[in-house]
Amino acid sequence: MKKFLLEIVLLFLFVALAAHYISNLDKPPRVKQILSIDKKLDIINLGTSHGNNFNFSGLAINGRSLNRAGNTLYYDLQNYTFVKKHLADSAIVLIPVSYFAFGLDENRADKGADKSFVNDFYEYLPPTSIHEYSLAKDISLKVHRIQKNFRGVFAKKKVKKPKKKPKGKRKKNKKKVVPFDTLAHTAMLKDFAIKRVAHHKKIGSFVRPENNIGYLKAIIEDALQSGFRPVLITVPYYREYAERFGQEWLSENYDVPIARLSKEFNVPYIDYGFDTRMTIKPEFFKNSDHLNKKGIVFFNKILFDDLIELGLLSNDDLR
C-alpha cells in the first residue's frame, strides 16, 4: 500500500510541477502587466475599457493602468486590494466610473457565457477575491492556459524571419494617408451611440446599485485610510452618447450616487462627461464612448492640468 501511495503522490507531484511550469510560461497581457509591477506606483487608474483613456507616459512619476474591458466595481475593488502593496505613499488612485457601472452584477450575468473578463482574474487573484469562485472553472482555466502556452511554444518556433529582398528592388513602404472624413465619422459616432446607449442603459439598471456603491465606498475608504488620494472621474464621451442617456436617467442612476460619495468622503470628482473641449469634437473619438489616440493625448493633458490645480500633482511630475 505504501509503495502504491508513494507512486501516486510522486506521479501527481511531477504532473503538478510540469503543469505549473507550463502554465507560467506566458500570461495574458493585462495579467502580465499586473504581475510585473516592480516599482512603487505613484498613480494608477482602475475602471472598464473607459480606463483605456488614461496614459501616464506624459508623467515623470510611475503610473499604470489597471482597468479591464468589461470590468465591474467589484473587481475594481479586488484589483485595488491586490496592487495596494505596490502603491507609493500618497499615490493617486483614479477611479473612472462608467455610467452603467452601478447596475452591473459582480460577474456580469448580462454577458451570458462570455465571462472572459473574469477569467483573467483567476490568473492572479486569490480564490477569496473571486465572486462565486469555482474550483472546477479554476482548473479548466489552468488547463486552457497550459494548452495555450504549450501551443505558443511551437507557434513561436514556427515563426520564420521574412526573406530580405535584394536592395535594388526594395520598395519604399509609404503609408497611404486617408483624409479624415468628418461627416462620415460623425455619422458613425451617432449610430454607434444609439446602440451603445440602449445597451448601457439596459445593463446600467441590471441589478440594484447598493452593492456597487458599497464596493466603490470600500475602495475610497481604504485608499483614504492608507494615505492614498482617490479621485472619482467620469471620462469624456462623445456628445451624442452622454446626451442620449437623458438627464433623468443619469441623475437617478449615476450623478446622485457619485456626488453623494464625493461629498461623504470629501474626495474630488471630475466630470468630463459633458466637457465640450472634447465631447463635441468627433476627431477625438474612436467610437461613441472611447477616445482615439489624438483624444487620449488631449484628455491626459487636461487631466494632468486639473490634477495640478487640485494639488494632487505638481509641475515637476510632468515629463
Partner: protein
C-alpha cells in the same frame, strides 16, 4: 457523477481511504461502504432514481431466495417472470414508452384512424439498461440453477449498485462478480497500480480522443448538408473514434477503479477496430453486452443451430434487439439490422469463427491479407456508425448519399491535423498493446517502477495538453 469530473476526483480518494483504512477490518463494513458510496455516486445525478435501483435490488433478492426454495417448475417460472416483468417493465416504461406510443399513433394514422394520446415527459434514469441487465442475469442464472442465491442483502446490493460499472458497464454476470463480494479483499499493489494506469488510459481515451473527435463529428453531422463527400467521410470516421474512445474509455476507468478496490471486471473491448471481419468485431466490441445477448437470448432461441431460416431469424433478432437496447429510435434498429446483414454471409458460409485468436502475434505488423480485411471491416463499421449517430433514418440516408456523391474525392472542408495525428498515435499505442487487456497492459511485464511512472506521466501530460475544452457526457449514459 462523471468519471472525468472534479467531483469524482474528490470522491474516489475519499472512498479509497475509507475502504482500505477505515472499513478494511470487516468485509460487511466494506460492502456496506460500497453500497453507500454507490448510492451517493448515482444519487449525484438524480437521487429520485435511487428508488428504482433499491426496488429492483429488493425484488431480485427476494425472487432469488424464493426460487431456491421452490421446486415446482411452474411456480419457479412465475417467479422468474416477476423479475423479468419488473426489470424490463422499468426499462420499457422509462426508455421505450414514448417510442411505442408515437409509432402506434403513426401506424394508426397511416390506416386513417387518428388517435389522440399524450406522450409523457419522461427522464431516462442514467444507466438503467445496464443495471437491469445485470440483475436479470442473477435471477435467470438462479432459475437455470447455475447460481446459488445470496442471503447477504448488503453483498447483493453492492453487486447491483457497484459504482464503477453501475451506469455504463461492463455488464457483469452475478456468477463472476457476486462471489467477489463474499471474499475478504486484501490490497494488491500490482493490481491497484495496474488499475490506476488503466484509469489514466481511459481518461486519455475519453478526454482527448473521444471529446476532440466529438467536436468535429458533431459539427459535420449537425450540418451534413453543407459538407462535401470527403468531409462527411471524415465526420463518420471521427464519430467512429469518438464512440470507441468514449465507451471503451469508460470501461477502462470502470475496470481500473474496480481493480483499485480489489475487484476484477471482464474486458469489455478487445481492440475492435483491428478486427478482420464483422464476426470478430462483435467478439471484440462491448463484449459484456454481446455475450449477455448470446447467452440469454441467442442461444435460448437456438443460436446458429437449425435451419437456415432459423439462423437468419436468430441473427436478425439478436442484432436488432441489441440495436434497440441502445435507444428507442429507428436509427439504432437500422444499425442493428445493417450489422446483421454484414454478419449473415459469414454465418451462412460458416466463416464466422475464422478469426478467434490474436492478430499478428508473431509480427509487428499485420500481413497484407490481414491488413486488407481489417480495412474492409473498418469501412463497414464506419458506414454502420452513420445510422447510429444520425438523427433519423432520413438523415442517415442523406448523409450516406452525400458521401457517395461526386465530391467523395474532393479536398475535405475540415482537416484538423492535430486530431488526426492524435488518433494515429493513439491507434499505434493500441496496436502495440493489442495482446493485453488494454493498451498499457504490457507494462505489467516490467518491474521498473520508473518506466511505469514515466509512461503514466506522459499519458497524463498529453491528456492535459490535448484534452478538449468542451466537456462531453459519456455517450453510453443515455442507453
Amino acid at each position: 457523477m462523471l468519471f472525468n469530473s472534479l467531483d469524482f476526483a474528490i470522491f474516489l480518494p475519499v472512498v479509497f481511504i475509507l475502504y482500505w483504512f477505515i472499513t478494511n477490518k470487516s468485509l460487511k463494513l466494506q460492502n456496506l461502504l460500497i453500497v453507500i458510496a454507490s448510492y451517493f455516486f448515482y444519487g449525484w445525478w438524480d437521487w429520485r432514481f435511487l428508488s428504482l435501483i433499491l426496488f429492483s435490488t429488493l425484488v431480485d433478492y427476494s425472487v432469488g431466495i424464493a426460487l431456491s426454495k421452490q421446486s415446482n417448475e411452474a411456480k419457479r417460472l412465475v417467479l422468474l417472470w416477476v423479475s423479468i416483468v419488473v426489470n424490463l417493465g422499468f426499462l420499457g416504461f422509462f426508455k421505450y414508452y414514448n417510442f411505442f406510443l408515437e409509432n402506434f399513433m403513426t401506424a394508426f394514422s397511416f390506416f386513417g384512424t387518428e388517435i389522440k394520446s399524450n406522450s409523457l415527459d419522461i427522464i431516462l434514469p442514467v444507466g438503467i439498461s445496464f443495471y437491469t441487465f445485470q440483475t436479470l442475469s442473477y435471477t435467470i442464472d438462479i432459475y437455470k440453477r447455475r447460481l446459488e442465491p445470496t442471503k447477504d442483502l448488503i453483498a447483493f446490493s453492492a453487486f447491483v449498485s457497484f459504482f464503477p460499472q453501475l451506469v455504463a458497464g461492463p455488464i457483469e454476470r452475478a456468477t463472476a462478480l457476486l462471489p467477489q463480494f463474499y471474499k475478504k479483499r486484501t490490497f494488491d499493489y500490482a493490481k491497484a497500480s495496474d488499475g490506476a494506469r488503466q484509469i489514466i488510459w481511459g481518461l486519455f481515451k475519453k478526454m482527448v480522443i473521444a471529446d476532440n473527435c466529438a467536436e468535429y463529428a458533431n459539427q459535420i453531422f449537425n450540418n451534413s448538408a453543407d459538407f462535401n463527400g470527403s468531409t462527411l467521410v471524415l465526420g463518420a470516421v471521427f464519430f467512429t473514434f469518438q464512440i470507441y474512445g468514449d465507451f471503451s474509455g469508460y470501461s477502462d476507468i470502470a475496470i481500473g477503479t474496480s481493480r483499485i478496490f480489489g475487484f476484477d471486471l471482464k474486458q469489455n473491448f478487445a481492440f475492435p477496430y483491428f478486427s478482420r471481419d464483422i464476426a470478430e468485431f462483435w467478439r471484440r466490441w462491448h463484449i459484456s453486452l454481446s455475450t449477455w445477448f448470446r447467452d440469454y437470448l441467442y442461444i435460448p432461441l437456438g443460436g446458429s443451430r437449425g435451419s437456415t431460416w432459423l439462423k437468419v431469424r436468430n441473427t436478425f433478432v439478436i442484432f436488432i434487439v441489441s440495436g434497440f437496447w441502445h435507444g428507442a429510435s429507428w436509427t439504432f434498429i437500422a444499425w442493428g439490422a445493417l450489422n446483421a446483414l454484414y454478419f449473415l454471409p459469414l454465418l451462412l458460409r460458416k466463416k464466422n469463427r475464422v478469426y478467434l485468436g490474436p492478430i499478428a502475434t508473431k509480427y509487428s505488423f499485420p500481413s497484407f491479407k490481414e491488413g486488407i480485411n481489417m480495412l474492409i471491416t473498418f469501412i463497414l463499421t464506419v458506414l454502420a456508425w452513420v445510422f447510429f449517430r444520425a438523427e433519423s433514418i432520413e438523415h442517415a440516408a442523406t448523409y450516406l448519399s452525400g458521401i457517395f456523391s461526386g465530391t467523395l474525392f474532393d479536398k475535405p472542408e475540415l482537416l484538423p491535423w492535430e486530431i488526426i495525428i492524435l488518433i494515429v498515435l493513439f491507434m499505434s499505442v493500441e496496436w502495440f498493446g493489442r495482446n493485453g487487456l488494454y493498451a498499457l497492459d504490457g507494462l505489467n511485464k516490467t518491474n521498473s517502477s520508473v518506466l511505469k511512472i514515466t509512461i503514466s506521466f506522459i499519458v497524463i501530460i498529453v491528456t492535459i495538453l490535448y484534452m478538449s475544452n468542451t466537456e462531453q457526457e459519456f455517450i453510453y449514459f443515455q442507453f
